[in-house]
């Protein structure tokens, strides 16, 4: 299976990078972009796992390493 892990800053946390990107987009004429939040995307290749096993393992590594729970949250998708 493949597990996709999306790590994003919690809504309460200011995102300086997203803010800078938003400003750049406004300067480029994309005034309709109200806000940008920058995150991280990981693909975990997990051969020989079931969907449940892949989700469990991805959750464990997201919690321990990929995301910092002080500032970030994560979402996991599992696919063939």
């Amino acid at each position: 299976m493949t597990a996709r892990v999306f790590v994003t800053l919690k809504p309460s946390v200011f995102d300086p990078q997203g803010h800078t990107i938003t400003e750049a987009l406004h300067q480029m004429g994309y005034g309709g972009v109200d806000d940008v939040r920058q995150g991280k995307y990981f693909e975990l290749n997990l051969p020989g796992t079931s969907a449940d096993q892949a989700r469990t393992l991805a959750t464990e590594v997201a919690r321990k390493l990929l995301a910092n729970p002080v500032i970030e949250s994560y979402r996991i998708e599992v696919a063939e």
């Binding site: 800053l9 309460s12 946390v13 200011f14 995102d15 300086p16 990078q17 390493l65 990929l66 910092n68 002080v70 500032i71």
Partner: protein, 230 residues
């Protein structure tokens, strides 16, 4: 007394810490590679500045899992003094030896002198300072924007764990004096037991007036004085 200076792949202020402790302050100092677990009988551990593991993933996130960190954790748990400077502070946060996390600076990478006010003097790294003393010390970081949730921030203040704050040269906490957007202008904190201190400014780079400032020397002299008294 002896300083152990931990070297991660990407540390680049390890030699600054070595120079300050050994050559300026005349103490014993030894490097400890991050894959080692022996702290060489040191009395103090320094986690130096730099870019451990290239700052990949998050600053300090990979370094946290280096073998040496188990020894540092045990050393800290036994009440021994540990100081994390800049990237070392970031490692201490990721290792949960200190509360909170670092965000990117609100605008850009900053390399400049700042003024850090000593908020508390009952730590091994500030005991020679006067409360409210303002130290001119350099910073050099892109991720020094200290963040914690409101409960954690309230706890830090209630337990007097905020050790350094960014201030104006006159010693006032102002928005203009805050170089990175840190909550409450927090530049350095300690743990509840007060033996683990992390700060973004580089005291080890401000130990000789010929290099611009000697204000940082008192941070290292403080911990030396603890052992001189013992």
């Amino acid at each position: 007394m002896k300083f152990a200076i931990v070297v991660f792949p990407g540390s680049n202020c390890d030699h600054d810490a070595y120079h300050a402790t050994r050559h300026v302050l005349g103490q014993d100092a030894e490097f400890v590679w991050h894959k080692e677990t022996d702290l060489k009988g040191a009395d103090v551990v320094v986690l130096p500045g730099g870019f451990a593991h290239g700052d990949y993933l998050r600053t300090g996130a990979i370094a946290r899992f280096s073998p040496v960190m188990d020894s540092v954790r045990a050393f800290a748990a036994a009440g021994n003094p540990v100081i994390g400077i800049c990237n070392g502070f970031q490692v201490l946060l990721e290792a949960e030896l200190l509360p909170g996390a670092m965000l990117r600076n609100t605008d850009k990478y900053k390399c400049e002198y700042v003024y850090a006010r000593v908020e508390q003097t009952d730590t091994p790294f500030t005991n020679l300072c006067a409360k409210g003393q303002v130290l001119k010390i350099p910073i050099a970081h892109g991720e020094g924007n200290y963040y914690a949730d409101p409960e954690t921030i309230a706890g830090l203040h209630a337990n007097r764990q905020v050790i350094f704050r960014y201030v104006s040269p006159a010693g006032e906490v102002t928005a203009a004096a805050n170089p990175n957007g840190s909550l409450d202008g927090i530049a350095g904190i300690c743990n509840l037991a007060r033996n683990v201190v992390g700060l973004m400014p580089h005291p080890e780079r401000a130990c000789e007036s010929a290099l611009g400032s000697a204000d940082g020397k008192i941070v290292l002299e403080s911990v030396i004085s603890v052992f001189a008294k013992a």
